[in-house]
Symmetry: C2
Subunit: 133 residues, 2 copies
């Protein structure tokens, strides 16, 4: 329903919680996707401050803090920028009272939904998954 980057990021971070300095090729072969997608996703996680990377030979990615401190709320925020629920690209009819308001309504719904989601996700850490492996 939502694109698969969230799962990919969780996968990456959990792998790194077990062994640091993994290369994008190694990670990609565990997830079974293209290494460039891993590098792109790692790049997002780096910008969000969740991982560090090292270029060059023997380079790779490292968690930038304890897996206990990385929650799925952090991962969600690093992964997505758009609101949870789209509303259609088409401008709704502004001459209709509903058309005029649907945008604001969806903003409200998105805000409520994302807050609830993030609250729940903030209670789940990468450590939880690491400890299950």
């Amino acid at each position: 329903m939502i694109n698969g980057r969230f799962a990919i990021s969780i996968h990456i971070l959990t792998l790194l919680s077990m062994e640091e300095g993994l290369s994008s090729d190694y990670i990609a072969s565990s997830i079974n996707i293209n290494p460039v997608l891993v590098r792109k996703e790692v790049s997002r996680l780096r910008k969000a401050g969740l991982v560090d990377t090292k270029e060059g030979k023997n380079g790779g990615a490292f968690l930038s803090c304890s897996p206990r401190k990385i929650t799925l709320a952090d991962v969600y925020k690093a992964t997505y920028e758009k609101p949870l629920f789209n509303h259609s690209k088409n401008e709704p009819n502004p001459r209709c009272p509903m058309g005029k308001r649907i945008g604001e309504i969806m903003d409200e719904v998105n805000e409520a939904a994302e807050a609830a989601l993030l609250k729940k996700l903030s209670g789940i850490s990468i450590e939880k998954f690491r400890s299950q492996l």
Copy 2:
């Protein structure tokens, strides 16, 4: 992020909470989408028991209960069947401990996330939007 059907359904139901028996053409012109998409979405809402429809001349759609009783949790469930968070279509590497488990982990995450989301959405009714117009 998620497809726009949720917003479309909310739009349809709120319109119907103001005036019943609207045709798919009328609704489509408020949303500014194709009438066939409206009929498809109404069909889903009908299967979920949220609206009734009448065929033939002067036909259209009707709420099947009070807008006070229709919550966004009902709408969400009528609208989506797949889990909130995808994981990649590719089978992850089963020879990797993480690859082996990611499926179960994402199932857990999905369950937790959807429960939190639905709980929040169940507190928001179509009546809320109707009363704001």
